[in-house]
């Protein structure tokens, strides 16, 4: 090791040629392409080996079609429509339940936190599938609701647990001084939440909430086990008609990905806008 004065004024050691080679954009993209290519080739070769008959040309009719009536969306988009409506309804309900649970926990009332913690532990420790069966096969007949309602309730209850934690963390992230300032001008707790605390916590909640919506859209696929006609169920139905399992599952996966990616990109734009506004 040289002493510090000898090192002074010398440029920092530059990366070795090998390091530079692997860090260049061209090489990175190349390596990435090779890896993806290998995976695709491997799947294709594997499918060939088992004698799979690829029929990609039959897929578009399930996405869209041109008939005498003009352009029409295919079955897959109807399934997607149901998935989106189902997810949105569940998300709104989950947020409502989550907010109530979060406020109960923050209320400082012993009963309130006991109820909230009990609910959280109950929901967190039951698998989503079991919760769905519970709503569909047990509560459904008792309270006379259909499979769609059972699905919405299951997803809402399951995700309300995490959402309540996100809301609680967001509320707690607002500095204590904001509470004191709003109280000192005579606001009630409700007014403080509504006008001062919640608007400021949105900024903290937006990123994890987006993750939660993406998670919810993906877990909505589980309701296909009780045959609610959403994207996954539609995919399964098409396959039982056509036996194109590889093509259809790839297509369904891509549709889910497209939706969640658009959502994430949209929210990150929103987030930037929101931060600039402040």
């Amino acid at each position: 090791m040289q002493d510090a004065t000898a090192l002074k004024g010398q440029p920092l050691s530059s990366p070795s040629p090998v390091q530079r080679f692997f860090e260049s954009t061209f090489v990175s993209v190349l390596i990435y392409a090779i890896v993806i290519g290998l995976i695709c080739y491997g799947s294709y070769a594997g499918a060939q080996n088992m004698g799979y008959n690829w029929q990609w040309h039959r897929v578009p009719q399930y996405l869209y079609s041109f008939t005498d009536d003009g352009f029409q969306l295919g079955e897959i988009f109807y399934g997607l429509g149901t998935t989106i409506v189902l997810s949105l309804t569940s998300f709104l309900l989950a947020t409502l339940i989550g907010l109530i649970i979060a406020l109960l926990r923050l209320s400082g009332l012993v009963i309130g936190s006991a109820v909230a913690v009990g609910f959280l532990e109950f929901v967190r420790n039951i698998p989503l599938l079991v919760l769905l069966y519970l709503f569909y096969y047990v509560l459904g007949p008792i309270f006379k609701f259909d499979r769609y309602t059972a699905s919405v309730l299951t997803l809402a209850v399951f995700h309300s647990a995490l959402i309540s934690e996100i809301l609680r963390a967001g509320i707690n992230a607002v500095p204590k001084g904001q509470w004191e300032a709003s109280k000192s001008i005579g606001m009630s707790s409700g007014q403080s939440y509504r006008y001062i605390i919640l608007p400021q916590s949105v900024r903290f909640m937006l990123p994890p909430m987006t993750g939660e919506v993406v998670h919810l859209i993906k877990s909505s696929a589980i309701v296909s086990v009780i045959a609610v006609a959403e994207l996954t169920t539609i995919g399964r139905n098409i396959i039982s008609d056509t036996f194109m399992s590889f093509e259809i599952w790839f297509t369904v996966a891509l549709v889910y990905m497209a939706v969640t990616l658009i959502l994430s990109i949209g929210v990150s734009h929103l987030e930037k806008k929101y931060i600039v506004d402040q």
Partner: protein, 248 residues
């Protein structure tokens, strides 16, 4: 002076944080229009005391009566009381998601149910009084510390309080901004507002205080008029404290 009716009466209050005895048997009377400056070393209970006046902290025993309302953990009553008692914080605590004007109008509009137009007119009047009428449409983060604190004072005044509490209003400010805030406070004092100020700004204290209070370890050690307080305080501890902070 001091012949008027008491507006704040504190009698034998004690306050604990767990085992820590934060306020020990504190008595204090503030009369209408009186300016009280509370000083003392950090941790002596100054902030805790004035935060008990508007229920941001609760005393464990004793009585606090403000404007004939006893401070009590009754949600509705304490909200009414808080409308009469403005508070200015060390860290300003402006609402960062609202513009300056909205910071000033949200209290009157939501709590006092005053119409927007009227609330804005009042707010602009107070912004004028704190000398920053041109900042109405900015967000707090776009203002300097001194400007933010003046907005915070205006925000409290918009509620038309009868008493103003200041909790170390200049401690978080850069030195060159302290005077602009103190000037506003002096002007406010001249309007006859009842003020209780926790501060180490002894120049300000000499200028406006009717009564000086010195606290140490949760006790009020000395209560005297400024001319006696600064020249011949009764307690040695107070003398020592003054020497320490006035030497610089």
């Amino acid at each position: 002076m001091n012949q008027q009716t008491p507006i704040i009466e504190v009698a034998n209050i004690d306050k604990f944080y767990g085992n820590f005895h934060a306020l020990k048997d504190v008595d204090l009377t503030v009369r209408q229009g009186e300016k009280v400056v509370i000083c003392g070393p950090s941790g002596s209970g100054k902030s805790t005391l004035i935060r008990c006046f508007n229920g941001l902290e609760w005393h464990n025993s004793g009585r606090i009566v403000i404007d004939e309302i006893e401070v009590h953990q009754n949600a509705k009553r304490i909200r009414e009381l808080r409308q009469e008692v403005g508070m200015v914080f060390q860290q300003f605590n402006l609402f960062p998601h609202l513009t300056v004007l909205e910071n000033l109008t949200i209290g009157p509009m939501k709590v006092r149910k005053i119409a927007q137009a009227q609330a804005e007119e009042t707010a602009r009047g107070y912004l004028d009084r704190v000398h920053i009428p041109e900042q109405a449409d900015k967000y707090p983060a776009q203002l300097s510390g001194g400007q933010q604190q003046r907005v915070a004072i205006a925000r409290s005044l918009c509620m038309e309080p009868r008493i103003m509490l200041f909790d170390e209003p200049t401690s978080a400010l850069d030195p060159e901004m302290i005077n602009e805030v103190l000037d506003v406070m002096v002007e406010l004092a001249e309007t006859g507002m009842t003020m209780v100020v926790v501060t180490h700004e002894m120049g300000f204290a000499r200028k406006v205080a009717d009564t000086m209070v010195f606290m140490e370890e949760g006790r009020i050690v000395e209560v005297s008029p400024p001319n006696k307080f600064f020249t011949d305080p009764d307690s040695d501890r107070c003398r020592l404290f003054l020497n320490q902070i006035l030497e610089h």
